[in-house]
Structure formats: C-alpha cells, structure tokens
C-alpha cells in the first residue's frame, strides 16, 4: 500500500515538472449510480456473508461501504440446512446455509431499524419458494423507510416447478421478475445464478421483464465427500462454491452479461483485492460486491476502495465511468 502511495507521489511530481495541471492529485470521483441507487463508492457487501450488518459494524464503520445487501429475506422464517454448513476448498469454500432467515416481519422490526442512518445504502435480498412469496416480500417492502432497493435471489428452488431454480430458464425468470416489478417502485436488481448454460439469455429475460440492474454471480454448485464417514461432507449434500477460485468464472459472466444488456451490472464472485474489483469494472460492472473475502480479511472493503482510488489517480481517470466496460469497448463507445 505504501509502495503505491509512493508511486502516486512520484507521478504527481513528474506532472509538475512537465508543467501539467495537477489533476492527478485530485481525488477521483468514486460515486456511481447503480440501477437508480446513488452509491458513495462502488463497493458493496454481498448478500449472506454480511448477515444484516450488525456484526461487521463492530469491526468497521458501515459508511465505508457504498451499500449493504442484507441476507435473503422470505415472508416466513426459514430454518436453514442441517450442519455442517461450511467446508473449505482450495482457493474457496462451500456453503449450504439453506437461506436461514428470521422472516420479513422480524427483519423489519428487529434488524432494519438500527441499519437506518448507518450512512450506507440498504438493499434487501429477497427469496421465496413461489412467485407469490417473492411478490409478497417486494410489496411489503415498497415504501419502507431505510430501504433503497431490492435484489431478487432467483437461485431458490421453485416448489411449484418441482424444485427447479427460478433463475435457470428465461421464461421462469421473466415471470418472477415481471410479477415482482408490478409490486414495487424500488430499484430492482436480479441476482443471477452461474449454474446455467446461457447466462446472457437469462439476463435479457430479466431486463425485458423490467429489472433495473443485474447482480452476478451467485455461488457455483458443488460438493465434497468425507473420507472417514464415507458420506457427503455438507449436511445438505450440495453447497455453493465461493471465494477466489471462482473469480475468473464470475468475471467472464459479468463480461457476457454486460455485453448483452443495457441495464447496469453489479459484479461479484471471489473478489479479493482492488485489482480484482477493477477487472470486474473493466469487464462492464458498475459496482462490485465482496462476500467470502470478508471472512479472511474484514479490511477488504477499505483496501479495495483505497486501491481503486489509487489506480484511477495514477492513470488519471477522473471517475469510474471512464473505465467501466473499457476492456470490452476500448473507445468507450456504447
């Protein structure tokens, strides 16, 4: 980090030597507009690892983040999966939490109030077993003070369709998104699953059905076997892979989706540094979220924020818009 600062110092000196304006020493503008939500910076906490923000708040000031996406909320409480729910793998981890949550009313009564005034945007991740359940949560949250947007997690199993996830085909994606769209005026992000053959077609279906933005990726489906017990290691047999191992997969999908839609993209999956975050933005993400990285480095959001600002300053970009999607579209043409 110090090294980077020195480099930045050197560069600004060089500018002065050449009689250039001192633009590079001006703090770059980190603000972005994600699907209608004005973020002070492009770093969010991904849904799940961060819970409802209360615990990480004891480790850092939440206003450091552009936004928080709280853990998935369903109309009624969900119990979650039997343990073990976690396992570490090379470069990543599997989780099978099972979307345990206290339910909508308890969230509103006990968790939301203390998040109001935390100086960051609050996005609620919405889960359900049927289109009606998603719609019920969305309609109840519409107009509630302190909620800045919704993120629909469409990786949930659709009970009526035999448990196949909503987000695995364009038609059911379009159906759940258009139904929820009618229930809410809040900015609406759709969180896409990577466990599909053609993520771009699902992204387009969500866009056509009225989504304001897309979040990706959710975890990649996986499993491990316990050699001693000769049984699946996770209580739920299957879990979701997250962490640095999935970063190139996530980056590719962000690239594909950003190339396929006009609405903004929130990129995530294995982000472990400012360099990773910058790659997502250059692939087409408007903002990024960190999940697993928080577990082994709670200072990660602060480090990414500083690293992005340093990069913009060193390369004399005034803002994030200047590099968004630059790798796909080098001339900056839409």
């Amino acid at each position: 980090m110090n090294k980077k600062r020195c480099q930045a110092d050197l560069e600004s000196k060089t500018n002065n030597d050449y009689g250039l304006t001192n633009e590079s020493s001006v703090q770059p503008d980190l603000r972005v507009n994600l699907a209608g939500i004005e973020l002070a910076n492009p770093i969010l906490a991904a849904s799940g690892p961060f819970g409802y923000g209360h615990q990480y708040r004891e480790l850092f000031d939440l206003s450091l983040l552009g936004g928080i996406i709280v853990k998935g909320i369903s109309p009624e409480p969900w119990e979650g999966n039997p343990p073990p729910r976690l396992a570490e793998t090379t470069g990543g981890m599997l989780n099978a939490i099972g979307l345990q949550n206290p339910g909508l009313e308890k969230f509103l009564k006990e968790y939301l109030p203390s998040l109001r005034g935390s100086g960051t945007k609050i996005i609620v991740n919405v889960i359900g077993c049927s289109v009606d359940e998603y719609a019920a949560v969305a309609s109840r949250l519409d107009g509630v003070e302190g909620i800045d947007g919704l993120e629909l997690n469409i990786s949930c199993p659709n009970v009526k369709a035999g448990g196949i996830a909503f987000g695995t085909d364009p038609a059911s994606t379009g159906n759940v998104v258009s139904t929820v769209r009618k229930q809410t005026g809040l900015p609406l992000l759709i969180k896409l699953s990577p466990n599909v053959t053609d993520i771009a077609s699902i992204a387009r279906a969500a866009e056509e059905a009225g989504a304001d933005g897309l979040s990706l990726i959710n975890t990649l489906s996986g499993m491990l076997i316990d050699l001693e017990k000769k049984t699946p290691l996770l209580g739920n047999t299957f879990g979701g892979l997250s962490g640095p191992a999935i970063m190139p997969v996530a980056l590719k999908m962000v690239w594909q989706v950003a190339g396929a839609v006009k609405i903004p993209v929130l990129g995530m999956g294995g982000i472990n540094s400012a360099r990773d975050a910058l790659q997502f933005i250059m692939a087409g993400a408007r903002a990024v979220a960190v999940g697993t990285g928080l577990f082994y480095n709670p200072d990660l959001p602060a480090e990414i924020k500083e690293g992005i600002a340093d990069y913009l300053q060193q390369h004399r970009f005034p803002d994030l818009k200047s590099i968004e999607k630059i790798a796909q579209d080098p001339k900056g043409e839409e």
Binding site: G48, P49, F50, G51, Y52, H54, Q55, Y56, E58, L59, K71, E79, G80, N81, P82, P83, P84, R85, L86, A87, E88, T90, G91, M93, N95, I97, Q100, G243, P244, T292, L294, F295, Y296, N297, P298, D299
Partner: protein, 263 residues
C-alpha cells in the same frame, strides 16, 4: 456477575499479535503465547479467538481456538492446540517475533464457577477449562481424559492451581484410571455444584444426560466449522430445541439443555 455482563458486551477486535513463546509440548501439540493486550484485557473463560492465516496462503479461513490462558498485566494470551491440518501447521510455523492477526474475544463463555464445580475435559477440550479453573480459588475438580496418555497433552505445570483436584482417565489405562471422563463423572456427580464440559460431542451428550439425571446444572462448550466467527454468516449452526443457533455468537458455551448433541 456484573463483571461478566460487562465483559459480555466487549466488541471483537482485530489485533496484530507478536508471537511469543512457542512450545511443541508433545508430538502434534502446540502451546503458543501471543502478545494480544486488547484481547487479554477483555476475554473471559470459554471465549475464543480466530487466528487469521498468513496472507496469500492456503487455507484462507481463520481458525478458531479457545483461550487457554490470559494475563491482563502482561497482555499475553496462550492457546493450546492439536496440529491437525494445514491451518494449524501454518500457525505452528510462525516463529517468535513474527506476527499473527487475531480476532477476539469472541462468543459467549462460561458463567462464573460456583463452589464444588466439576470441569470435564475430553482431549483438547482441556483448553477453555484451564482458563476457567484459573478464574477462582474455590474448591473445584477437573476430570481430564483421553484415549491414551499421548492425548493428555496439557502440561501438568499448567494444572498446578490452589484448590484444584485433578482426576485423570485414559481408555487404555496408560495414565490415571482406566476408563473415560464419563465414568469418573458418574462417580462424583451427587456432590457437585455444577458441571462445565468441553470435548467430543458424544462425551458432551453423556455429560448432559448424567447431569440431568442428578439434577445438576451443566454447561457445555461445542464446536462447529466457522467462517466469519462473529455471528453474521450463520455457517456454524448447532441444533437446539428452538431451531438452529450460532456456535460463534450464541455459544460456544451453552446450557446443556439448550443444545441437541450428536451421540
């Protein structure tokens, strides 16, 4: 109790800690002293710390360890652990003078010891109970057992405390009584103030049953795999009659009747 309650409100802190004395106390066991003044000041028995892995290493996730000793005056804490896999190997590789990042103090620990408490330690379950035993001078008994003497890794000098009676058991009879901690507990359960246990889940389940039958209050410290360690991710779930609870935040110490343990 007020002291306890005040400490229970203590927020977890990230602390870069100087590695002090490191002892391989028996093959496969390490006793590590860390200079962690912020944690040492607030930690109470039964709480734990997460030790972060050195950056750029595998594995990535921090590893949880009970606090074995804490000294407010010197700012030192000690952890005692079995070298199990890559994470504990990496921690053991840290030399005196190096730094390790810690997060703590974490979780809800034990309540204060009443008179005539019995502490039941199975294997590495000894770690939090040594800290607990050192918190009072009241008469108390430690039952310490493992399959063989090789797994009774705790140095006897660390167990030398006024008022503490020690009963040991090994399954093969290589040290103390031949049998288990549970056999020893059955023998003394009727004259006990309360039971405080840490060890493998089947042992905790047996302790729970025996205490319940004798109408003696029991507290157990349980383990689960962890990620955040602070109660955010709900990854460390343990079953309870009222649904899943978090070992890292609601525990690791629970009233025995509060948790459903595997046999």
């Amino acid at each position: 109790m007020s002291r306890l309650n005040k400490q229970r409100g203590a927020k977890p802190k990230q602390e870069n800690c100087l590695v002090g004395n490191k002892q391989i106390i028996a093959p496969g066991y390490c006793r590590l002293t860390l200079y962690a003044p912020l944690i040492a000041r607030e930690v109470y028995p039964g709480q734990f710390v997460e030790v972060y892995m050195p950056p750029e290493h595998q594995p990535m996730l921090p590893r949880p360890f009970s606090v074995y000793k804490a000294n407010q005056k010197t700012g030192e804490i000690v952890i005692l652990f079995e070298i199990k896999g890559q994470g504990t190997r990496l921690i053991t590789a840290a030399e005196p003078g190096a730094t390790l990042k810690l997060l703590g103090p974490l979780g809800h620990g034990f309540p204060e010891l009443p008179s005539d408490a019995v502490l039941v330690a199975g294997g590495m379950g000894i770690a939090p109970l040594v800290f607990l035993a050192s918190s009072t001078d009241l008469p108390r008994t430690l039952i310490y057992g493992a399959p063989t003497v090789a797994q009774l890794a705790c140095p006897s000098s660390d167990l030398d405390m006024p008022g503490l009676t020690i009963l040991e058991a090994t399954e093969d009879g290589s040290k103390g009584d031949q049998g288990t901690t549970v056999d020893l507990l059955i023998r003394c359960i009727n004259n006990v103030g309360a039971v405080f246990a840490c060890g493998p889940s089947p042992m905790l389940q047996a302790v729970k049953k025996i205490s319940d039958r004798a109408a003696v209050k029991a507290w157990v410290s349980v383990e689960e795999r962890m990620a955040c360690g602070i109660g955010a991710c709900v990854g460390c779930a343990v079953a309870t009659p009222g649904g899943y609870k978090r070992v890292c935040k609601d525990g690791p110490v629970f009233a025995a009747e509060e948790v459903i343990l595997s046999e």
